[in-house]
Symmetry: C2
Subunit: 233 residues, 2 copies
Amino acid sequence: MTAPTRRERLREATVSEIKTGARKLLVTGGVEAVSLRAIARDMGMTAPAIYRYFPSLEALVTALAGDLYDELRMRLEAARDGTGDDPVAQLSAMSRAFRAWSVAHPAEFGLIFGAPAPGLDGFVDDCTDPDHPGARFGAVFVQPLIDLWHRSPFPTPPRELIERHLGGRLEPLRQSHGEVPIEVAWAFLSGWTRLWGLVAMEVFHQMDWAVTDPEALFELELTTFAAQLAPRP
Amino acid sequence: MTAPTRRERLREATVSEIKTGARKLLVTGGVEAVSLRAIARDMGMTAPAIYRYFPSLEALVTALAGDLYDELRMRLEAARDGTGDDPVAQLSAMSRAFRAWSVAHPAEFGLIFGAPAPGLDGFVDDCTDPDHPGARFGAVFVQPLIDLWHRSPFPTPPRELIERHLGGRLEPLRQSHGEVPIEVAWAFLSGWTRLWGLVAMEVFHQMDWAVTDPEALFELELTTFAAQLAPRP
DNA sequence: TGCAATAGTTAACGGCGTTCACTCAAATGA
DNA sequence: TCATTTGAGTGAACGCCGTTAACTATTGCA
């Protein structure tokens, strides 16, 4: 581990300048506005120069997506750490932070959570690797659920029903977290799906036709979902 | 209302040939593979000719999206009509049909339910119009829920909680269906969000890292959700 | 028969990703 | 110190793309 040379520092700076330019284009014009020529133009360079840093536009977008996962994950961790040690409160804070970031950054949300561009399939497929930014992100929700389960088990569908449907099909999830009770695995999947669906529908404007204040619906759903995590009677 | 002239018939045929070509490209290469030049090439035409039928590529894609909404809605209606008159059974059948179509047509799903392309914002915004294909689609789920509610009310969050959060914010939904009890409006939003989220996560490969058999998870969620629609004890 | 509308063409403009051959400055090593 | 290698960046080119403009040929109708 040696100190970075001058060249490495310059290179690093250029890489992040490219990413910054790409993100600016992403925000202002959507993913299809991200072009090597536009990035280079904004940097006072020519497009082929970027190939010294990324092998293709697609690779650049993939790298950007990874950064966005990390940024979002850190927001959630901050929200969690800024809350007491009640798992339900932590999960609520994380859910609000997730929605807040997503609503504030719709283009970025669309990039990492929307329909995968044909070329990005490789990126999302590799999510099986626990070091993948996407997997690291998802994992943030698992630990509080495990804590909550051990503290006061919440109601779930009957264990044998979960077993029957998901029995051997959760290896990926369990591998990344060691001992995950199957009820917790179910709760994670069910809860993350609901959270993601609610936020994605808002960000993608899929419920404008029915609701004028998506945040109100979000808070209502969060309230009822948190109530379902209360200990069984 | 007069019979279509010969010219109108030819024009109609060309329009649908264009759409067919566009869909083929959508399926094989994703939305970004849909190009006027490729469509025209496949038809033995030149690209500018398409401008006699659609004012822009974006307009063509928007028209295609409308067709897809209609196609999907008709699948759901067929599933509903092929089931008895038990609303819960109808809703289950419709949910399965929704997942089946979506999984079988990921590119089409991505077009109508994914991140709206910057230019398509107008399309999704106009969903407020009840004649919009998207609104007509969503409406299919509402009637069975109303029937069910009148037959045997299902458990919901306390009415005053719904009122407080969603009180005046459901005009669009209520306008399109006249008398919709607020509990039904909540159930629709909550249920549709869960269904959409679950299917979208599968189609967008957002849960490959955790689950190997998405259909199993879907059936489990469907089972538990249907159970929640049982009459209150 | 003649006129107007329609469907199609070619050519062109500017933008895009990407490749190739090239230049020039910076780091390296004898 | 000086030659050499490495790396960053340029400009031209290829083949895509959407879109516009000017133009031609055909169809339908009065």
